[in-house]
C-alpha cells in the first residue's frame, strides 16, 4: 500500500541501470506506478514518451539500482533513545541509500518475543521512511541458554535469529537451535567469537602489547566459526556468520561453501578499510567488535568481498553517544555509526579495481535480501525501492553532518568517492541530496 504523498507515476530518465539480480548494466529508464516498479529497461521510452501524468526525474547519467539492504543495524529503540531512535536511524539510512534494514534484538527490552517484533514494525510504519525489520533473539534475554519461540517469531516476521553481539558459546544450545530452525526454514546468525577467548578490548598482537590493552586473538573467531560449521553440517541448519574479520575465517567459510554447506557471511566496511592501527592513540571510535585486525587480515577481507566468499556487506551501525565513547579505551562502548558511510566506503573496492560496480552492488542488495528471504531487483511488480547515486563524486566524511543521532565514526575527515543522490522507498522519494544540502 503506497502511503499518502506517493506520486502516481514517476519516470526516471537517463539513468545507468544497475541490476545485480540480472547482471544488467546499461543506460535506460525506469517507471514506477504508486509503490511498485511498472516498467524498466534500456529501451524504455525510446519509442514513446513517458505517460503525460508522470513526474520526471532526470538522473543525468547517475546510477540507478535497487535500494541497499543493510542486514546488521542497532536501532537502540526501545531503551536507548538518547543514542538512536527508529526515526533517526531511518533518516540516516535513507541518506545512505538504504531502503531496508534489519535491527539486532539487543534493545531494552530484548526482542525475544512477538511483541518486540511488532513494536519495531509498528514504529517503522509510523515513520514511513525505510523498511525496518528485526531479528529476534536466539535465546531468551540473550542469555545463551533457552531458545526463543522461533516458529512464532518467524511467523510474526522475524528475519532471522541471533544473540547479536553475544555469541552463543554453548554448543548444545547452538546445535538444538540450528536443528529446531530447520523446521521453519529460517536463518541463524552468529557473530563468531569464542566467548572465553574474547575478554580483551582490541586485536591481540604487537599493538595491544605496546598499548597495554588486553587482546582478542584472531583465533577466537575461527575457533567458534569452525565449531558452528561442524554443527551446521550435523543439523542442516541455515547459518550466517556476521562480521567476518580474519583471513582464517575467510578460509573456513570458503571450505564450507565448497562442501555445499548452507552457510553465508558478511562483513562491514571498517574490516576491509581499516586495520588495528586505527586504534592508534587509544581512539575509542575505532573500538569495534570484532576488533580491527592486522593489515594482512584486512587485505584478506577485501579480497573475500571481491571474490564473493563474503556474501554481504552490512553497515554494522552501532550508534554511541559521547558519554559512551569519551572513556578510557578499555571501558568505552563498542561500535561505530555506519548507515551513512556504507555505500561510499564500499565503493572504494570498485575504485581500487578489485571488483565491478555490479558485483559490489550484489553484496549490498540481492545477496543480503536473499539471505533474509526477501527480493531485490529492478523488475516490474516489485516494490519501487531504489537508490540513485553518483559513483565518482568525491567528498569528505564529516560525522557532524550525520542524520544519525550519534556521530561515533572512525572515518572523520576520510575522503571518499561516491555519493547517494536520491533514495526511493515504495515509489516515494524519502531522501534527495539536493534537499539535504539545502537544509543543512
Amino acid at each position: 500500500m503506497p502511503v499518502a504523498g506517493t506520486p502516481k507515476r514517476v519516470a526516471y530518465l537517463n539513468a545507468r541501470l544497475l541490476d545485480p539480480a540480472t547482471g544488467l548494466d546499461a543506460p535506460g529508464a525506469l517507471l514506477t506506478e504508486e509503490a511498485v516498479i511498472a516498467d524498466v529497461g534500456p529501451r524504455l521510452f525510446n519509442d514513446a514518451p513517458p505517460p503525460p501524468d508522470a513526474q520526471i526525474v532526470d538522473c543525468a547519467g547517475a546510477c540507478l539500482a535497487p535500494g541497499l539492504v543493510d542486514m546488521r543495524v542497532q536501532l537502540r529503540e526501545p531503551g536507548q533513545e538518547h543514542k538512536e531512535t527508529i526515526a533517526s536511524a531511518s533518516r540516516a539510512a535513507a541518506a545512505g541509500g538504504i531502503t531496508s534494514m534489519v535491527g539486532l534484538p539487543n534493545t531494552d527490552p530484548v526482542v525475544d518475543d512477538v511483541s518486540g517484533i511488532e513494536f519495531v514494525a509498528r514504529r517503522a510504519r509510523e515513520e514511513k521512511l525505510v523498511k525496518v525489520y528485526s531479528y529476534a533473539a536466539l535465546t531468551r534475554r540473550l542469555e545463551g541458554q533457552e531458545i526463543t519461540e522461533i516458529g512464532l517469531l518467524h511467523e510474526y516476521g522475524a528475519r532471522g535469529f541471533t544473540d547479536g553481539l553475544k555469541p552463543v558459546g554453548n554448543a548444545q544450545v547452538m546445535r538444538r537451535a540450528l536443528s529446531y530452525a530447520t523446521a521453519f526454514d529460517t536463518v541463524i546468525l552468529q557473530h563468531p567469537q569464542e566467548p572465553t577467548l574474547s575478554q580483551g578490548v582490541m586485536n591481540g598482537g604487537e599493538l595491544a602489547t605496546r598499548l597495554g590493552l588486553a587482546g582478542i586473538p584472531p583465533l577466537a573467531e575461527v575457533i567458534l566459526l569452525e565449531r558452528d560449521l561442524r554443527l551446521v553440517e550435523m543439523t542442516g541448519g541455515r547459518y550466517h556468520a556476521s562480521l567476518i574479520s580474519t583471513a582464517e575465517s575467510v578460509e573456513a567459510i570458503r571450505r564450507a561453501k565448497a562442501r555445499g554447506l548452507p552457510v553465508t557471511c558478511d562483513t562491514a566496511p571498517h574490516y576491509f578499510t581499516l586495520n588495528e592501527n586505527a586504534v592508534g592513540d587509544y581512539r575509542t571510535f575505532a573500538k569495534v567488535m570484532p576488533p580491527l585486525r592486522s593489515e594482512s587480515d584486512r587485505a584478506a577481507i577485501a579480497e573475500a568481498v571481491a571474490d564473493g566468499t563474503i556474501d554481504a556487506i552490512c553497515s554494522d551501525h552501532a550508534p554511541q553517544d559521547q558519554d559512551a565513547k569519551r572513556l578510557p579505551f578499555a571501558v568505552a562502548e563498542w561500535g561505530m555509526a555506519g548507515l551513512e558511510t556504507l555505500l561510499p566506503l564500499s565503493l572504494a573496492l570498485v575504485h581500487q579495481g578489485r571488483m565491478s560496480l555490479l558485483e559490489l552492488l550484489k553484496r549490498l542488495t540481492v545477496s543480503p535480501a536473499t539471505i533474509l528471504q526477501g527480493r531485490s531487483a529492478l523488475a516490474p511488480g516489485l516494490p519501487a525501492d531504489l537508490v540513485i547515486f553518483d559513483p565518482d563524486r568525491v567528498w569528505v566524511i564529516d560525522p557532524d553532518r550525520f542524520l544519525s543521532k550519534s556521530k561515533n565514526s572512525a572515518f572523520d575527515n576520510h575522503p571518499v568517492q561516491g555519493q547517494v543522490l536520491r533514495t526511493v522507498v515504495d515509489g516515494r522519494s524519502i531522501f534527495t541530496l539536493a534537499e539535504a544540502e539545502e537544509a543543512g
Binding site: 535465546t139 533457552e146 519461540e149 522461533i150 516458529g151 512464532l152 538444538r176 536443528s179 529446531y180 543439523t235
Partner: protein
C-alpha cells in the same frame, strides 16, 4: 480372528521374557494380539476369576512412578488367578547399577514366577532378566521399549480398523525420549503398516529413518492421508527452551487440534498413551471426541493385552494353536 502357525511342533510364542517388540516375528505379534482379543471379548464381570494362573506369583517392580501400567498388570494377573504384589523402588535414593543386581538376587530368593519391571534406564530390564530365574516383562525401560503399550495400541487399532497392514500411522511428538514410539515403530512396521514420525527436529533422534519410518517436521505434510494419529506425551521439563521454546509454540505447531487433524483421512483415529497434557500436545475437545479418539479403548485393551502376555509366558503348556476370538 485367527493366526495360523507354520509348524505344529513349534510353540506359537517360544519366549521366556517379553523385553521388547524388536525381534518378535509377525506371527508372534499376531498371536499375542489374537490371544488378547480373546480376553478383550470376555466380560470380567461374567467370567469372574480364571484359574489359569492359580498359585502363580507376579511381582510388579517399578523403579519409576506409574499408576495405570502397574494397575493394569495387577488386574491382569488377578483376573487370571495369580497373586500380584507391587514393589515400588524410589530410584532416586539408590545407586542404580549395583542395587539393580542386588534387588534381582533378593527377588529370586522369593521365587516369583514373573516380574514386571519398569526402570528409568534403557537396558536395565534386560540386565535384570539375566540375573533372575523367572520370566520378565518389560513395563518400560528408559527411552528404549514399552512392548505391552505397543501391543495394546495395535489391538485398539486392529479392533477399529480390522487390520494393521497397509495402514498409515503418524507418531507425533517427543520421539527422542519415547519408548512408546520405539516399540510402536517396531510393531507397526513388522505388521506391514507405513509409519511416519512428526516432531520438531530437536525431538527426533538421529537416523530415525533407519527404523523404517519417514520423518516430518511439519504436521500438515506429515498428517496428510494418515489413518491413525498417535500423540506422545511431552515432559514438562522439555518445554522451556531446551528442546522446545514454549508450550504455546509447541501447541501451535505440533499440538493436535481439529484444524491439523483435517489433513488426515476423514476417518482417521486419534490415540494417546496417557497421561495427556491437554492443551500441550492435544486439544481437549478432540481427546474427548468419541468418534475420533481411541484413548479410552487403549486403556480398556491394556488389561486384555497384559493377560495375554502373562498367559503366553507362564502357561506355554496351555497355549491355543490358534485363537478364535
Amino acid at each position: 480372528m485367527t493366526a495360523q502357525h507354520p509348524s505344529r511342533e513349534v510353540s506359537p510364542f517360544p519366549h521366556r521374557h517379553l523385553l521388547g517388540i524388536e525381534g518378535l516375528s509377525r506371527e508372534e505379534i499376531a498371536f499375542l494380539l489374537d490371544l488378547a482379543d480373546f480376553y478383550a471379548a470376555q466380560d470380567p464381570r461374567e467370567h469372574r476369576l480364571s484359574s489359569l494362573l492359580s498359585g502363580y506369583t507376579v511381582i510388579n517392580l517399578f523403579f519409576e512412578n506409574s499408576t495405570r501400567t502397574r494397575t493394569s498388570f495387577e488386574l491382569a494377573a488377578r483376573r487370571l488367578g495369580a497373586e500380584a504384589i507391587n514393589m515400588s523402588v524410589a530410584s532416586s535414593s539408590i545407586k542404580k547399577g549395583e542395587t539393580l543386581i542386588d534387588t534381582a538376587t533378593t527377588l529370586t530368593a522369593m521365587r516369583p514366577d514373573l516380574l514386571v519391571v519398569r526402570h528409568p534406564d534403557s537396558g536395565a530390564v534386560s540386565l535384570l532378566s539375566e540375573k533372575v530365574d523367572c520370566s520378565v516383562i518389560n513395563g518400560g525401560d528408559g527411552s528404549h521399549e514399552h512392548p505391552t503399550q505397543a501391543l495394546l495400541d495395535a489391538l485398539s487399532i486392529r479392533r477399529r480398523k480390522g487390520r494393521l497392514a497397509g495402514l498409515t500411522v503418524a507418531i507425533c511428538g517427543d520421539v527422542l525420549h519415547s519408548r512408546v514410539a520405539r516399540s510402536n515403530i517396531h510393531l507397526l512396521t513388522t505388521m506391514g503398516a507405513q509409519v511416519r514420525v512428526i516432531a520438531p527436529p530437536t525431538l527426533l533422534p538421529s537416523k530415525i529413518e533407519s527404523l523404517g519410518v519417514k520423518a516430518f517436521h511439519d504436521m500438515r505434510a506429515g498428517l496428510a492421508e494418515v489413518d491413525i494419529v498417535m500423540m506422545l506425551r511431552l515432559q514438562n521439563e522439555r518445554m522451556h527452551g531446551s528442546y522446545v521454546p514454549s508450550v504455546r509454540e509447541y501447541f501451535r505447531f505440533y499440538g493436535l487440534d481439529q484444524e491439523k487433524l483435517a489433513f488426515a483421512k476423514p476417518d482417521a483415529l486419534v490415540m494417546h498413551p496417557g497421561p495427556m497434557n491437554r492443551g500441550v500436545e492435544i486439544d481437549s475437545e478432540l481427546a474427548d471426541d468419541i468418534d475420533r479418539s481411541l484413548i479410552h479403548t487403549q486403556v480398556a485393551m491394556g488389561v486384555a493385552v497384559r493377560m495375554a502376555c502373562l498367559h503366553a509366558l507362564l502357561r506355554r503348556d496351555q497355549l491355543p494353536r490358534e485363537v478364535h476370538a
